[in-house]
Structures are given as structure tokens and as C-alpha cells.
Amino acid sequence: MTSPGTLTLDGSAIGASVRLAGKTEPASIGEPALNVTDLSVRRGSVALVESTSLSVAKGETLCLVGESGCGKSLTCTAIMGLIDAPLAAEGSIRLLGREIAGLPERRLNGVRGRDVAMIFQDPMAALNPIQRVGAQVAEILAVHGATTSAAERSRAVLALFERVGLPDPARQARAYPHQLSGGMCQRVMIAMAIACRPKVLIADEPTTALDVTIQAQILRLLRELQDETGMAIVFVTHDLGVVAEIADRVAVMYSGRVVEEAGVDEIFDAPRHPYTRALMACRVGTGQPGTALPAITGIVPAPSARPNGCAFAPRCDHARPLCLVQPELTERGKSGARVACNLPEEAQ
């Protein structure tokens, strides 16, 4: 277990009243809760994620958007310190101002689940199939010493289950994952993730496997929890509708790199990178029904077969010779938006 210091949580007194006690900390956007600098994940000499930098402020939701294989999930896995051989991660990951990259496993275990927690895409696969879900959530509380007795833990679990909207918490706590629906399992995962009131929540496509009505409920729940606790959320999705629902800021990834990062309104109203613009254009439901959608030709290159320079250039309508040089993520305009594109600003 790590020493407390800056990591002490107000949530240590989680106890029986996991009402998440109103707005204990006002969601003050500013101080970064999570700061990732120059993160790379490699398999041998192939970079799967390359020099990615992200930061999320307290109370803020950053959406990580991109198509499959662009490195969204790997970035999350790396933040959680879950990268294993044959993959290797490098770069700096600062959680609440403290470096956690390269911490030994034993000390990371004190951080994971307590200061930073993760919700996975497939809750059925992430839960232990042969343990009752209530016990799985209680285990988190026991491991992080948030409660003192088993009775207190089970009260806390029930309160958590109630908070995430599981009907009849006492009965659900005794259920095994296979007895619950996908949406219910995802609520259990969320209860587990927020059990120790993490400062940073990583949500990797938490609603992708769910029906649209359940998705709407889960998104609402995450927003409410964020308002109550002021946690920072990194939300991975490929669905731009979900982005519109939950994001404050958006980082668009393509082929292992962030190509654009900006406020959510700017991403929707004035996307700058050609890839972001193309993604916005090919959403169904925006155009006239039955007409051809403006699809992006070609496919995302494999990490081992990336072209020189800008990885999007072969699919880009505006590519020019200067795109053979790798573009840097640079600030554009006054709003602090960052774009990695070699084209001059007026051509974007």
C-alpha cells in the first residue's frame, strides 16, 4: 500500500453512507488530475501508440475518439499500468501530480482501484463469473482499506448498488454475473470503479455493447456521479453521438497518435484536421436518408505498415508533398485547440 500524502482520499470515510455526500469538492476545472506526456507503447520496434500527450482536469470529461486500431484502448491500458510483455510502455503518467509510470507493481496496486479506476467495454468478461457480484465490489473496499468490517462493507456495497441504479440491491448483490443482463453488469462495474471514489475514471467504451436506452441511462449516471464527486473522466468511444452527450474536451486519435484535440463544441462546429472533418461527415443520420454518405476511402494502416510522415495522408483529400513529414501537434487559433496537420491553417 502506498503512503498517503497527496493521495489521501476524502472517500476514506466511505462507510455505510455511500451517498457520495453531495458536492464535497466543487468541480473546479483547472488543476490536471491526470497528465500523460509522450506516452508510447511498442511491440518490438513497432510503435502502437506514439508520443501521445493528454491531460484531464478535475471534473472534466475527455473523450478519446478514433476507429479500431488507433490506440485508444492501449492508451488507457498504459495509464492503468497494465501493459505487459511483449508490449512495452514509456513516457510520463502523472496522477494528481505524482508520477506513476514505472512504479513497482505492489505500489501500483495501491493506486489502481483507489485513485484511478477503469470500466471495461465488456462487463461480462471483466467480472469474475464464479463470484457473487456483491463480493467482487466488497473486495475492492477491503483491499484499499476503505472500510473496517465486513458488515460495513456489505452496507457500503448495497449503497453503491443503489446509487448506480441496480434495482433490489440486496438480491442483486447475491447474483452471479451470468444472472444479470449486460446493462446490469455494467452498473456493477461502475459501482466497483467508483467504490473508492477515484479521482480519475477511465471508461473504455463502457456503453458500446449496450442498447441505446441503457446507454442513455449509463451516460446520465456517469455525469451525475461526476457532478457529485468531481472526478475526471477519460471516456473512450468511437461513437460521435456519445461524444456529443458526455465530452467537455475531445482528443481524436488516428493510427497511434492524437491528431486533434479541442473543446467539444469546436470539434463539432469547426473541426480542423481533415480526419476529424471526414469522421464528422460520414456519420449516418446527418445526411439526407438514402443518399450516399461521404465515406473515407481506404483503411487505417497497420502499425507496422504506416506511411512516412502523416499517417492519414494516403486517405486525405488534401494531401500534398509536404505531408511526407510527420506533423507535430501544434496549437491553432486562440482556443487552445491542438492539431497535427502540415497543411496551412487556411487550407484546413
Binding site: E67, T213, Q215, H238, A244, R283, V284, G285, A295, I299
Partner: protein, 277 residues
């Protein structure tokens, strides 16, 4: 309305689930007394949440599953008994595209041989004509020169193109797509939807398009049937359904669609807050 190509009349399909050595299985009615008519040349989208019975309905419509009650008529006659000669012919005129192309294809056989197998099964044609037909359809779906690849060497979008080529090489009349674009990335999804729409016109296809994505249904469907718990609760022209949904469940579904933009979300939330106050 054109002639009906497919009519389902009072169709019911039940499944037994669970049940072990000591316990009785529970009977689930996946499709419950459904009637649905699909006219030639139209695209009928079927939407619903998981477990609503839409895939079962698609399988019944294709004749690869048979109902416990009711009738499925293709061009006015019931599907023939499986294994018989007319049944073989029907297999060609109704084709199916599944959600997951990598499990719908043989991982060890080349794409060309899997597409060609359809011709062997359904038509007599010599080697030269066969090769020409395969090349033609590969060209048409955007896989020129990729016939010798095996599935592992192709992306998800390319695999779905191969599945579509395999379905269309026997020139079917009815194409049933069960979540055909759900597993694809948005940019690839747009490519495949565009391909399906242009092939529909070119081949004069009638389509049943099963999807959980209302955006996709709105884009492709002339008509949308909304399913809930094994029943069709609303079945109307797409524009009518979106503009004036009648059934409460349709309204719930439409309300759950994520906002198109952050601005639209704020407008909606503000309206909801006002309504609640």
C-alpha cells in the same frame, strides 16, 4: 406499393432456454404472432434492442428457421421443405449477410473459392464463365485482385465486402442483412452502406435490414418496423416514424438516440429541465 415479395402471417417462434437435469427449461417466445409484408424493391428496416427478436425474425424471413405457428410466404408460396429441389432454388433467391464477417467466412479458403462455391451449389457454369463471374462481382464490391487472399489477410470492411459478393453472385431477389454494419468502424460503415445502396438499385434487390442503430435504419430504410419483446409495435414509413412516432416504445427509443451535437444536447436537456420544473 409493389407486389409483396415476402409475407409473414401470424408468425410465432419459441425457444427453450436453460433447463438442466433437474430443472424445466423456460420457454421464450422470441417472435410472437408477427405479421409483416415486404414489397418488392423496398428496404424494410427492423429495429429493436437486444432480445427483441429481430434476428429470429430475420432467420424466419430467410427460411433458415421455421415458425411454430403462422406462415412465411415468399412470392405467395411457403418455403419448400429443406433438402428438396425447390428448396435449393430458394436458397439462391434469398441471401443473408451476417454481422460478423470473419465468422461467416472459412478462415482457410480463399475469398474467390468461397464466392465460387455459391456458383457450384446453385448454378451450372464452366470454369471460364465461373472465373469471369467471380472477377466481375469482386470488381463490383471493390475487391479487385483480392480473390486469392484468405480472410486473415483482409480488414473487417473488406471481409464484409466479400460476404456481400458471395451473397450477390447468385443474383438473389431478397437480401437480408442482420446487423451487417454494426461491427464496422464509422468510416467503413459508410463505405459498406453506400455499397449496399448502390447494389440494391443495380441488382433490383429487396432488402430486410436488421439493425439496433436507428441512424442506420433511418438512412437505409423506406420503412421501419420497431420490435419489442417479440412483437412489432410500430411499422411505418421512415419519415412518418421519425416525425410522429405513435407507440410509446418508439418514442423511448428515439429519445435515447445520442444528440447529434453538444449544442443539440444542451437544448434538449434545457427543455427537459423546464418540463420537469
Amino acid at each position: 406499393m409493389n407486389d409483396p415479395i415476402l409475407q409473414m402471417i401470424g408468425v410465432t417462434r419459441r425457444y427453450e432456454t436453460g433447463g438442466g437435469f433437474f430443472s424445466k427449461p423456460t420457454v421464450t417466445t422470441a417472435v410472437d404472432d408477427i405479421s409483416l409484408t415486404v414489397a418488392a424493391g423496398e428496404v424494410c428496416a427492423i429495429v429493436g434492442e437486444s432480445g427483441s427478436g429481430k434476428s429470429t425474425l430475420a432467420r424466419l424471413a430467410a427460411g433458415i428457421d421455421s415458425p411454430h405457428a403462422g406462415q412465411v410466404l415468399f412470392r405467395g408460396t411457403p418455403y419448400a421443405k429443406s433438402g428438396s429441389a425447390p428448396w435449393r432454388r430458394e436458397r439462391a433467391v434469398v441471401q443473408f449477410v451476417f454481422q460478423n464477417p470473419s465468422s461467416a467466412l472459412d478462415p482457410r479458403a480463399t475469398i474467390a473459392s468461397q464466392i465460387g462455391e455459391m456458383l457450384t451449389t446453385h448454378e451450372r457454369c464452366d470454369a471460364a464463365a465461373r472465373k469471369a463471374r467471380i472477377d466481375e462481382i469482386l470488381d463490383r464490391v471493390g475487391l479487385s485482385g483480392m480473390g486469392r487472399r484468405v480472410p486473415q489477410q483482409m480488414s473487417g470492411g473488406q471481409l464484409q465486402r466479400a460476404v456481400i459478393a458471395r451473397a450477390l453472385i447468385v443474383r438473389p431477389e431478397l437480401l437480408i442483412c442482420d446487423e451487417a454494419v454494426s461491427a464496422l468502424d464509422v468510416s467503413v460503415q459508410a463505405q459498406i452502406l453506400n455499397l449496399l445502396m448502390s447494389l440494391k438499385d443495380e441488382f433490383g434487390l429487396t432488402m430486410i435490414f436488421v439493425t439496433h442503430d436507428l441512424g442506420v435504419a433511418r438512412h437505409v430504410g423506406n420503412r421501419i418496423a420497431v420490435m419489442q419483446k417479440g412483437r412489432i409495435v410500430e411499422n411505418r414509413r421512415t419519415s412518418h416514424l421519425f416525425d410522429r412516432p405513435r407507440h410509446v416504445y418508439t418514442r423511448t427509443l428515439l429519445a435515447a438516440i445520442p444528440a447529434a451535437t453538444p449544442a443539440a444536447r444542451r437544448t434538449r436537456d434545457a427543455a427537459a429541465a423546464e418540463a420537469a420544473a
